[in-house]
Symmetry: C2
Subunit: 149 residues, 2 copies
DNA sequence: GTGTCTGCAAAGAATTTGCAAAGAC
DNA sequence: GTCTTTGCAAATTCTTTGCAGACAC
């Protein structure tokens, strides 16, 4: 779908700034606000930071984007709206897992732990991976064998 | 274990401020920095915010606490250090799921999606629940006075 | 007594807001 | 023409930092 139609379809007016931001999101799929600001402004330096913040908000409100909190605690905006899971690699890459069966397995597995009057709303799985090579050399940090001196 | 011994066992000096913070964490198990600041200062208003930030950091570094990013994007400090999962209820309650089998099932299930040179480091499952009753909107409680339950 | 921890206040970073002009429809 | 969006700069919020005195050991 053309971007302008995509925007209109969720009730948003089409502006050049919104076009650029959505184009960038289509390209990168996931990104933190810093990354998005960087890429957007590399394409159009006239777009201000506050405008980008506002656009990200309106896109999320309109259901055009979703967001979640990444490994590092930063909010990640995501072009995929439907429920899915994520792998965070050591190279800061984010891989989507769209697997309804996985959600279903988890749902069944934890059902007994849900309070009586509550129902599962959303399940998110975050998987962090590390590099195998570096993993071999991983050392226990903070291993204090004796007092300082 | 006595708090002072707990602190000493990880190489931290025992101060009144650290005692209070650890006591609070033992009581609440999970909390955001705001909540922790609030409770700590209700018990001892002389403890400053910057000190509490520094104590939370040193506790995490020492392996006394873990932290993760909650539903709302805020960092949650957690008295449980070993890998586990969480349910976030509509009432802002956080329930721990310590279930190694669940982690194992997920691990096996996603193995094929992990890049060649990467290995799974950590798996976190976040489950949000909503109130069954409040499917539509919140109801005024005093419409009919009834006993709690 | 020595080295670490705390309180204070200020700095720094990240995000939001008010307002007037520009722009979309 | 009307209502929304944008740019700008200031405000706000959250967290960190430097330093001097207090404190733990």
């Amino acid at each position: 779908m053309k971007i302008s139609n995509k925007l209109k379809s969720v009730g948003l007016k089409v502006t050049p700034q919104r076009r650029v931001v959505y184009e960038v999101m289509q390209k990168i799929c996931h990104g933190s606000i810093d990354e998005i600001i960087g890429i957007v402004r590399s394409q159009n330096p006239d777009i201000t930071i506050s405008t980008i913040y506002r656009i990200m908000d309106s896109f999320c409100q309109a259901g055009l984007l979703s967001k979640f909190v990444g490994n590092n605690g930063k909010v990640i905006y995501d072009i995929t709206v439907k429920e899915h899971h994520h792998i965070f690699t050591s190279g800061e890459e984010i891989i989507d897992i769209e697997d309804e069966w996985l959600s279903e397995i988890i749902r069944e597995h934890v059902l007994l732990k849900i309070p009586e009057n509550e129902a599962i709303d959303r399940i998110s799985v975050y998987i962090s991976t590390k590099n195998k090579e570096n993993g071999k050399e991983k050392i226990d940090i903070d291993k204090r064998s004796s007092d300082s001196g």
